[in-house]
């Protein structure tokens, strides 16, 4: 391996890692606030790419009807819950949040299907369509078992991933897609050609990490989320509703997944089931951050990307083995240095 190859591998790894950063930040965010390890994260990323590709090909993306069905189910569940608790005055509000708002982008997509649109509009529409996905899934799947153990939530999360993969195959078919390039630009860095896409991915990852930092440290909502993450009971006593925090966390998660989906679509072929492995590797990054620290998560995710790239060069058949084996020493280090004896599991 010469320095030229090492440079190319590093660039490639950083670009892949930057995608992982976005997803891993979402993992940490959602886990910290809701204790849910949201496995279907990668699926949402893949769905974004597939939706964008459908719009590009002037087809009606399956996500539109999927969102409509989910919105209907969530609204029904919410109304039923409100009726049971007697809070009928909150029904109109619930209908706006769970039914009307998600249906607006879905309706626009449905009405404009088949029309040629400029790329920025397509991207905006795709993101608007994907945004309600995670919060709706939260309402339908996780809200009824919000107080369950982390394990149960994890298993349900995995089952949800299976369901989404099946739905993805149904709506998008088994073939992969790749969208048009976002930018037509190429630079030379350290004597290595770097595509504009790579630069865009890295810049976006940095930008959104910074945005999250601002959000958590300088806005009231962000601080409330942070409080919920630190201490659920305490936050509740302070008048912060954990359900609302959960919805916001899922909304932000959806946003991060959508951004990564838009970014990855032009540089790689995305299939209905591409999300799992992308998500799993991002997850390794999140674990390096102990599922709590945002900065360490970001660094860890980039490391995973670079490691993956070099592992593929060293021995491509064993690439996954190498990437996932690294997890074990990391976990051991995590467990030695951060988990104290006073941690007691739930019975």
């Amino acid at each position: 391996m010469n320095s030229q190859i090492a440079a190319i591998l590093t660039m490639d790894g950083v670009a892949t890692g930057a995608i992982y950063v976005l997803i891993a930040l979402g993992f940490v965010l959602i886990f910290a606030v809701t204790r849910i390890i949201f496995v279907p994260f990668g699926d949402i990323t893949a769905f974004t790419a597939l939706t964008l590709a459908d719009l590009e090909a002037k087809r009606l993306p399956g996500t539109a009807s999927m969102i409509a069905v989910l919105a209907l189910a969530a609204a029904l569940m919410e109304v039923a819950a409100l009726l049971r608790s007697g809070a009928t005055n909150r029904i109109p509000r619930a209908l706006i949040y769970y039914l009307v708002l998600p249906l607006v982008p879905a309706t626009i997509v449905w009405a404009t299907a088949g029309l040629a649109m400029p790329a920025p509009l397509r991207i905006a529409l795709t993101m608007a369509l994907i945004l309600p996905l995670a919060p709706l899934l939260d309402r339908i799947v996780f809200r009824p078992i919000a107080d369950a153990s982390v394990l149960l939530l994890l298993i349900v999360s995995v089952a949800l991933h299976f369901a989404l993969v099946g739905i993805g195959l149904l709506f998008f078919g088994p073939e992969g897609v790749r969208t048009q390039s976002l930018v037509d630009y190429s630079a030379m860095i350290a004597g290595t050609p770097v595509s504009g896409e790579t630069l865009l991915i890295v810049a976006s990852a940095a930008f959104f990490s910074f945005l999250l930092y601002l959000f958590f440290n300088f806005t009231l909502t962000g601080k409330a989320l942070h409080a919920t993450a630190m201490n659920r009971t305490g936050a509740r006593l302070m008048g912060i509703r954990p359900q609302q925090s959960g919805t916001i966390a899922f909304l932000l998660g959806s946003l991060l997944a959508a951004v990564s989906g838009v970014l990855i679509a032009p540089v790689n072929t995305i299939f209905y089931d591409s999300g799992f492995l992308i998500g799993l590797k991002a997850f390794v990054g999140a674990i390096i951050g102990g599922l709590v620290s945002f900065p360490v998560t970001a660094i860890g995710s980039v490391l995973v990307g670079v490691l993956e790239s070099f592992a593929a060069f060293q021995s491509s058949p064993f690439k996954e083995v190498i990437v996932f084996s690294v997890l074990i020493p990391v976990l051991l280090w995590r467990s030695w240095s951060f988990v104290h004896a006073d941690e007691e599991d739930e019975e």
Partner: protein, 385 residues
């Protein structure tokens, strides 16, 4: 109440094994992968069998019932499905499935339960020492697929070839085929790089291949994602030719591959270029018919090789059933034996891919006639005599 009745019926069916076919009907079981990683080609197999069933659904007045099951790309499920078809649906013959391990698994069941099996993916189960095997494989052997294209490379003066393929059984088969061809004086294989279908990048693998400075590249991927190494190699400035196997014959491969994939040459069953074949070619007539029926049933063009395997499997079965019905009744062990013997005794069965001659000594019944070389020119596969 209705739910209760349904439930009881389901329980009864479960406990005693449902059988609805009448005694004179022939029942055929078909397994493919409609979900999971193999579904991309699995759906093509499904479309092929739909076309085949529309083409002919009776033999000499005996209606044919077709039972279709999904194995989710899992060999365990394929085994379970095979047992279900035999033990619950009492099929006379099975056709399946879209992955090599799943097909091997089904063949194992066929041998145990003594029901004829037509494999539509490669198999590598050893031939039993006593008696005859209960199955055959329709496709060209992977070695043949690679040999035909490797011979073409040699003809074009290529000395060394790099390999990138899938991290799965298909990647193994193509690599082994290339290694086998190497011994016959075909190009030297310089690398064995692998990637998975869901990988986000093959830059590292492509760099590694480039470092071995091959004259050309052999692509051991399949379907859409087979385009990924081609795109990457061209991006890194690779100037050599690309070669591949029939697994690249896929609409989305052409779409995604775009300019980078242009000029790639692959070995292919003649069904891919039916309209370009001379009228004297064995596949011209039946292939034209196949494309017609396929379009009517599936509302799309048959531009892959896989649907043709399902179709040829069906033709082999139809020909065998015609013979077997003379000596035995459907649904009996005698009929199963007769079917298997008829598969062996029928000679020169022309399908859309090949002229088939099966013997109990091998699973495969194809020869060199079953593969032509086609080249991707401006998004179309062009026959290269």
């Amino acid at each position: 109440m209705r739910r209760l009745t349904l439930g009881i019926a389901a329980c009864a069916a479960f406990a005693f094994g449902a059988s609805t076919a009448s005694a004179q009907d022939i029942t055929v079981g078909f397994v493919t992968s409609l979900s999971g990683p193999a579904s991309s080609i699995g759906l093509n197999y499904e479309k092929g069998i739909n076309a085949a069933y529309a083409y002919q659904a009776e033999v000499d007045g005996h209606k044919i019932n077709l039972v279709k099951l999904d194995d989710g790309s899992d060999p365990s499920a394929a085994t379970q499905n095979a047992r279900k078809l035999v033990q619950q649906n009492h099929v006379d013959l099975m056709i399946g499935t879209s992955s090599a391990p799943g097909t091997n698994a089904m063949l194992t069941v066929a041998n145990e339960l003594k029901v004829p099996f037509i494999g539509i993916s490669p198999v590598n189960v050893p031939i039993p020492k006593e008696g005859h095997p209960w199955g055959i494989a329709v496709p060209q052997t992977p070695n043949l697929m690679v040999k035909v294209i490797a011979d073409r490379m040699k003809r074009e003066g290529i000395k060394t070839v790099g390999f990138i393929g899938f991290t799965d059984s298909w990647g193994d088969l193509v690599y082994n085929g290339a290694k086998a061809a190497e011994k016959n004086g075909d190009p030297q294989v310089t690398s064995n790089e692998r990637y998975t279908r869901t990988d986000t990048s093959v830059t590292a693998q492509a760099l590694k291949v480039m470092a071995t400075k091959p004259d050309a590249l052999l692509d051991g991927g399949s379907a859409t994602q087979a385009a990924l190494p081609l795109l990457e190699m061209r991006k890194l400035g690779f100037k050599g030719n690309f070669y591949g196997t029939p697994a690249l014959l896929n609409r989305d491969f052409v779409r995604i591959g775009g300019k980078a994939a242009d000029g790639v040459q692959v070995s292919a069953g003649p069904v891919i270029v039916t309209s370009q074949l001379p009228d004297s070619h064995f596949s011209k007539k039946i292939g034209t018919k196949f494309h017609e029926v396929f379009k009517k049933v599936n509302n799309s063009e048959a531009d892959d090789g896989f649907s043709g395997y399902s179709f040829d499997g069906w033709l082999i079965f139809l020909n065998a059933a015609k013979v077997a019905l003379k000596t035995a009744k459907p649904g009996t062990p005698e009929f199963h034996e007769a079917l298997m013997q008829a598969i062996y005794s029928n000679k020169d069965v022309a399908g859309v891919h090949s002229v088939y001659n099966f013997t109990p000594k091998s699973y495969y019944g194809v020869d060199d006639r079953s593969l032509v070389v086609v080249k991707l020119v401006d998004g179309k596969w062009v026959y290269q005599p």
